[in-house]
């Protein structure tokens, strides 16, 4: 070892690798084009600070922002049989899966976890649009069934965040069969008298909308989320006319009676706490009882002391 390998090489390496950094530090808002610094964006829950455009929110990040103190426990999802149809288009399905796993660092398109929100124990499931378009296949079906079974076992509500282009074509009919399978899971919750709240995020389409995403006790959507069965392009091709402004967006669906609420991401957590606690017949959450995910222990103690007075 000498000073060249210990000092010069790292220095040179860092000089070259620094080039890649700026791309990750700044994100351009796809809606208004504002350049957003990564820390600012993360603090604002991936919502543009300029135009309020809600960008994709990965399940892990969402759970960190949802659960008290950002703490949650993942629930195991039974692994389905790999490539049940031996599907091959221009690529083999297992290769597409591997590429998605590598790109996202996740196993599949849905994450299930349990923990507390405002000291209210819940089970949550979130779909990952960055994983093959969030598409619903056997795994997503298994995840929703696992989430419902856990919720029933622990007598907890289930909060589900949907985001998907629809069914996963590479699993053919078995992806379609997730519509009845997940519906059975929803029935388990309903028959156990447990709240099932769906938060529809951008985009929620196809077979996902036409099954578990539209069977909630309460439907909340994030602003401007595309929510539909058939996509706008398919409809335009069928009816050969221009669709109205805002068609199939969250606010449009709210107007047409398909949703209960459209809620900004920054208010979502509090709203979910309020609704679940009322549905469960629990007393209202006290402000000091709501350790926000980012708040450190000191702040919490201070707040508690204040409310104690």
């Amino acid at each position: 070892m000498n000073w060249i390998s210990n000092y010069v090489r790292p220095k040179i390496n860092s000089l070259f690798s620094r080039r890649e950094v700026p791309e990750n530090l700044w994100t351009k808002c796809p809606e208004c084009g504002t350049m957003l610094f990564h820390r600012e964006l993360a603090e604002n829950l991936n919502v543009c600070t300029n135009c309020d455009h809600h960008m994709a929110f990965k399940p892990r990040e969402r759970f960190k922002a949802l659960f008290d103190g950002g703490i949650f426990t993942e629930i195991d999802v039974p692994q389905p049989i790999a490539d049940p149809l031996q599907f091959r288009d221009q690529k083999k399905y297992p290769d597409r899966l591997k590429a998605a796993q590598k790109a996202t660092g996740e196993k599949e398109a849905m994450l299930v976890a349990e923990g507390e929100i405002g000291r209210t124990p819940i089970v949550a499931a979130a779909q990952d649009f960055s994983f093959m378009g969030g598409s619903m296949g056997m795994y997503v079906g298994n995840a929703i069934i696992a989430a419902a079974e856990r919720a029933v076992e622990m007598k907890r509500p289930l909060i589900l965040f949907s985001a998907a282009g629809g069914a996963r074509m590479q699993e053919g009919i078995l992806s379609l069969m997730q519509m009845p399978r997940t519906t059975v899971a929803v029935r388990m919750l309903k028959e156990a008298g447990l709240p099932y709240i769906v938060v529809l995020t951008h985009p929620t389409t196809g077979g996902v909308t036409a099954s578990y995403a539209m069977l909630g006790d309460v439907h909340i959507a994030e602003p401007n989320a595309l929510i539909c069965f058939a996509g706008p392009r398919v409809i335009e091709q069928t009816i050969r006319e221009k669709l109205p402004e805002g068609f199939q967006r969250a606010e449009y669906l709210l107007d047409h009676g398909m949703l209960d609420r459209v809620t900004h991401r920054k208010n979502l957590r509090d709203e979910l706490i309020t609704i679940t606690r009322m549905l469960l017949g629990l007393p209202p959450a006290i402000k000091g009882d709501l350790p926000s995910p980012e708040a450190d222990a000191q702040e919490q103690a201070q707040e508690q002391a204040e409310t104690g007075k």
Binding site: P80, I81, D83, P84, L85, Q86, F87, R88, D89, Q90, M138, G141, I145, A167, M169, E171, G172, I173, L174, S175, L176, M177, M179, P180, R181, T183, V184, V186, R187, G206, G207, T209, A210, S211, Y212, A213, M214, L215, I227, C228, F229, A230, V234, I235, T238, I239, E241, L243, F247, Q248, H256, G257, M258
Partner: protein, 319 residues
């Protein structure tokens, strides 16, 4: 007779036989019967050959054949006292879905199905079998009625898919389909379904979620049309043959996957060549499926139906 694209060689032979016979009718001295019969035999052999090994894409074409018996034909031939019931009590009566009370072999039941229509006028009236939310909501209402009065439910599935239209979306196409599937998984009466032609995606699931699902030999059931799949995954709608292969949408593959419980054989050359025999076979299959289910208690029916779907797909094609 409407010939499909792959039936062209058959059309030629049958055409020649017909021509010969027409000549003989015009000219009494000519004796062509022997030659014509030889052509008939040749056509028959070719037909048998063509249909013994249909590719998935050809199956799609047969499943969509305009001369196949449709929902109305089955209902008229198989049931007595058919009494159509209309409307969703909310918005409209959707003619893409027909249904009502009827008797099968004396037993009262509820029959519900997609109707595609048989000529231009009726196809437009029935919207080519593509239901709007009102259609699914009518079905939900009829299933609910059957459930309250303990009547078994029979559904006949034949749809390219739910209608992709502006109004349909505004009135909650997704919600209507989801609720219809949910209703199928909540009723405590026997529910049997037959896919008689096309089982198109969510629009089919809303009716085909059943205790027992039978498929006609050349019917299909798929998450997406082969054309749609090809345009998304191959970026070329013309690659539908490959997409049809990959999707495993034939009755035979679905039976192997445990999605279809039984396959109903079609006459040689498909349902469109012998409608009566096909309708009869479907009637027998419905009776057979209902017979086993009528003995079960309401709770057992529901439990087993849900178990069936929870377990579905666990073994893939190896099943």
């Amino acid at each position: 007779m409407n010939y499909l694209e792959f039936e062209k060689p058959l059309a030629e032979i049958e055409g020649k036989a017909e021509e010969l016979r027409a000549l003989a009718r015009a000219n009494e001295e000519m004796d062509v019967e022997k030659e014509a019969e030889a052509l008939d035999r040749k056509a028959e052999a070719l037909l048998r050959d063509l249909y013994s090994n249909l590719s998935p894409w050809r199956k799609c074409q047969v499943a969509r054949h305009p001369d196949r018996p449709h929902c109305r034909d089955y209902i008229e031939a198989l049931f007595t006292e058919y009494t159509p019931l209309a409307g969703d009590r909310n918005f409209a009566d959707d003619h893409a879905v027909m249904g009502g009370l009827a008797r099968l072999d004396g037993i009262p039941l509820m029959v519900i199905g997609h109707e595609k229509g048989h000529d231009t006028k009726s196809r437009i009236e029935h919207n080519f079998g593509m239901a709007r939310p009102e259609g699914y909501r009518k079905a939900i209402r009829l299933m609910d009625l059957a459930d309250r009065f303990g009547l078994p439910i029979v559904t006949l599935v034949d749809t390219p898919g739910a209608y992709p239209g502006k109004g349909a979306e505004e009135r909650g196409q997704s919600e209507a389909i989801a609720r219809s599937t949910e209703k199928c998984l909540t009723v405590k009466v026997p529910l049997v379904s037959v896919i008689i032609g096309e089982g198109g995606s969510g629009g089919a699931v809303a009716f085909a979620t059943a205790d027992k699902l039978a498929m006609l030999e050349h019917s299909i059931y798929s998450v997406i049309s082969p054309e749609g799949c090809a345009s998304i995954l191959w970026k070329d709608a013309e690659r539908m043959r490959e997409a049809a292969e990959a999707l495993r949408l034939t009755a035979q593959d679905l039976h192997r996957l445990g999605v279809a419980d039984m396959i109903i054989s079609e006459p040689v050359g498909g349902a469109q060549r012998n409608r009566e025999a096909t309708i009869e076979a479907v009637g027998r299959a419905i009776e057979q499926m209902l017979k086993g289910l009528m003995k079960k208690s309401p709770d057992q029916l529901l439990k087993e139906r849900r178990q069936k779907y929870l377990r579905m797909g666990a073994r893939g094609l190896a099943a």
